[in-house]
Symmetry: C2
Subunit: 452 residues, 2 copies
């Protein structure tokens, strides 16, 4: 039964930093989080980094009265860490695993083992269909030399694609999570511009929380302030985004964040700050803009530029990945040559018994072991980096296709009122099909055809 009166939805999002035996005060913090959620009774709770299913089950048990519906997304080696608790019934779910997510040999960063993904649950909120997404993107460990940037850009690309393609039938769309990207970062712009999702912090009528909506702050005792530099006070990397549809309009009335400390407690809920938004959902969609409106066109041209920028970043990543693949192949070949040399040496006593064993036995075995390890390691890395190259190439192809589709759309639109070609609103580059973000000839050649 659909309710046609306005609905107030309270949405909560928190990266729980729940690595058992490694995150400080993990059990106590989960208790505090459960207390907070039971007290506040949000409609929808979106959690990230709930790495242990046991912790999720404890939370679920504690919150069974106020949040009777829940879903925990499983992925990767240790899980996706994503969980949803809800007052409203969850009818369906889908998990999309990102094609790229760091490197297994960077075990100290651990992202690869987490199987980062975006989870979708379909909820029935008083007769309205809400598509609620929760996600967690690859961490940024060093902003100046961010080797994971292409991976995060591909994740942001796949996230926006997934949201666009799966949110079509929804009355309202909510996305919450730790994007590990600043508001003006490429991936955030890509996500917002392409999906039309609106940022609670930017749109809220009223805000109470950390300065500039920071969710990773210097005042949080779990934060290593050196890692925050050059952003002394903090950064905003956790988001609640939303949009309505042609049947429902949504606005953010109030947004609040926790502020590092919790009154009466020795430590905060997590190393991230929690977000809590009040959304007002009203019947009747936002007015659909008529084709040819200037701001609509500027948005489209901006989107073309953003996709082109993302493509450049992916190409840089692809170049590095291909170089790594070549290095691994060469190392493997070297290992093979050494192994063959070893076998030749081992054969000497049989072929020319008089010569005796020409090599000290211990060195012989050690060298053999080294060859074997080199060969095996190279083989594994070859498989991994081949997959990485394929995923980056695939993302780049999709971006090229999308950009050419958008450019065609832009060309098909009428001119602005002042008669300028529309692309000029965002600079001539936006319209130029021949523009190439880099000088890679082979890629340029393929790109000249907008039809693939």
């Amino acid at each position: 039964m659909r309710c046609d009166s306005p609905i107030k939805l309270r949405v909560f999002s928190l990266n729980c930093w729940g690595i058992r035996y490694r995150s400080l005060h993990c059990t106590e913090r989960y208790d505090m989080i459960a207390d907070l959620l039971a007290r506040e009774g949000h409609d929808i709770v979106l959690l990230q980094e709930v790495w242990s299913e046991k912790d999720f089950l404890l939370l679920k048990k504690r919150l069974a009265c106020c949040h009777p519906y829940s879903h925990y997304f499983k992925s990767g080696v240790i899980g996706s860490g994503l969980a949803v608790l809800s007052k409203h019934s969850i009818r369906d779910s889908l998990l999309f695993r990102y094609s790229l997510n760091g490197y297994p040999y960077m075990a100290h960063h651990g992202d690869w083992f987490g199987g980062k993904a975006v989870g979708l649950v379909v909820m029935n909120i008083q007769g309205r269909t809400a598509h609620v997404y929760v996600t967690h993107l690859h961490a940024e460990y060093c902003r100046e030399q961010d080797t994971y940037l292409p991976h995060r850009v591909v994740q942001a690309w796949e996230l926006q694609q997934f949201v666009r393609h799966t949110s079509c039938g929804a009355d309202l769309v909510i996305l919450g999570g730790d994007l590990n990207m600043h508001p003006q970062d490429l991936g955030t712009r890509l996500l917002r511009t392409y999906t039309g999702l609106r940022d609670c912090f930017m749109e809220t009528d009223s805000f109470d929380g950390c300065e500039e909506g920071f969710t990773l702050i210097a005042d949080n005792p779990f934060t290593d302030n050196k890692e925050l530099l050059p952003f002394e006070k903090g950064i905003r990397i956790d988001y609640i985004l939303f949009k309505g549809s042609d049947r429902v309009s949504v606005k953010c009335e109030f947004l609040t964040t926790t502020k590092g400390s919790v009154p009466g407690k020795a430590f905060p809920y997590s190393d991230h700050e929690a977000l809590s938004a009040v959304l007002l959902v009203q019947p009747g969609g936002a007015a659909v803009k008529s084709c040819g409106e200037d701001d609509d066109m500027v948005g489209l041209a901006e989107l073309v530029n953003t996709v082109t920028e993302a493509r450049t970043e992916v190409k840089v990543g692809l170049h590095c990945a291909q170089r790594m693949l070549h290095t691994v192949t060469r190392t493997g070949a070297l290992g093979l040559v050494l192994l063959l040399l070893e076998l030749a040496i081992a054969a000497v006593p049989y072929l020319a018994p008089a010569a005796g064993q020409p090599f000290p036995q211990a060195s012989f075995y050690l060298l053999g072991a080294l060859c074997f390890v080199t060969l095996l390691g190279s083989l594994l890395l070859f498989v991994f980096h081949s997959m990485q190259v394929k995923a980056l190439q695939g993302a780049e192809d999709q971006m090229r296709l999308a950009a050419s589709g958008l450019q065609e759309e832009l060309r098909g639109r009428p001119l602005c009122r002042d008669g300028r070609p529309l692309g000029e609103a965002a600079g001539p580059d936006a319209l130029s099909e021949d523009r190439e973000p880099d000088s890679d000839d082979s890629i340029s050649r393929v790109n000249h055809s907008a039809r693939d």
Copy 2:
């Protein structure tokens, strides 16, 4: 500009068996396929097993005039093998990689390296939005002892989920590919029942092709007839499926398959037969069934049963995967104990110099290498099988959620005209929430709550 007159769409699907240097007459067969496609000029061409991108680029070049739009999906180590060629413009694309796809150590089967997936392209066909899917599921190597069955069931589950969640805004939906499942297999039923996709072979007005629509036939010289047993004449595992929307109705007017040999040629196009369908797309959607109609309810009850059956299969797979994980863990522990023992032996000459080296040096190094290989192998297998367990658990959770949602829907519907409870149409099990496909206590406990 939307065209409101009926549209005839010719759709082609073929598994090309395109393994360079391994598939017989690969280059010649691609030439024949290109000739066929250029001659026939289908609207949409869906290809599988185009493993080499070079072959795709050659096909694309050859068919640039009649099929100006194309997309090649990249995934896994060697690619997904999926390609689309089209007369109609492709606006957007998305790739969903299946979470399970065989085992990397079963290298002779090779499926794992292929990165099996479902690719979606969004097409504009005379103003109508068509969502066109191409996919290839894990092969069935032994029907009697099919160790890949749980993987294929999870793939079918993810395929139907992906189609359901991404096809919402489409005027028409077309899915083509090699499902590696017979028409009455669990995965095929799951896909058809849940998505509402209709099978061209079952629905066509007119058919010309192999007996019973077989696409892997004994008469094909590339087929190993022993592998077909107990199905002497052939099996049907390639499909073109379709559905309309509330704006467009679709019917299949004609379906044809190749018949093993090609006139004037020494060998056929592939080891699979090609499918070619003529779809008639007409404005005006199929009449929407009113809630409570008996056949609608029977369909829903059948779907609940199918999901339950799939869940049972996934649980069996989960049980096996967990057993393998335990075996791997135990083997790893054994390797570690042996390595520690080795180190203790190595320490003897230092701790008690008089004792001398108690172990022949060659055996010592060999044992060391064995321990190392065992440990490394166990570690890699542990990582792989942990991911497998997580993916199976995730799929089972999603099935449980979906089944409980469907059961709720079934309960909310009115009774049949004869007053029987609706679930009885498909047996009482369909409605029973407490029914457990197996006796796993921990799973039973979780399942009793339909709310998770």
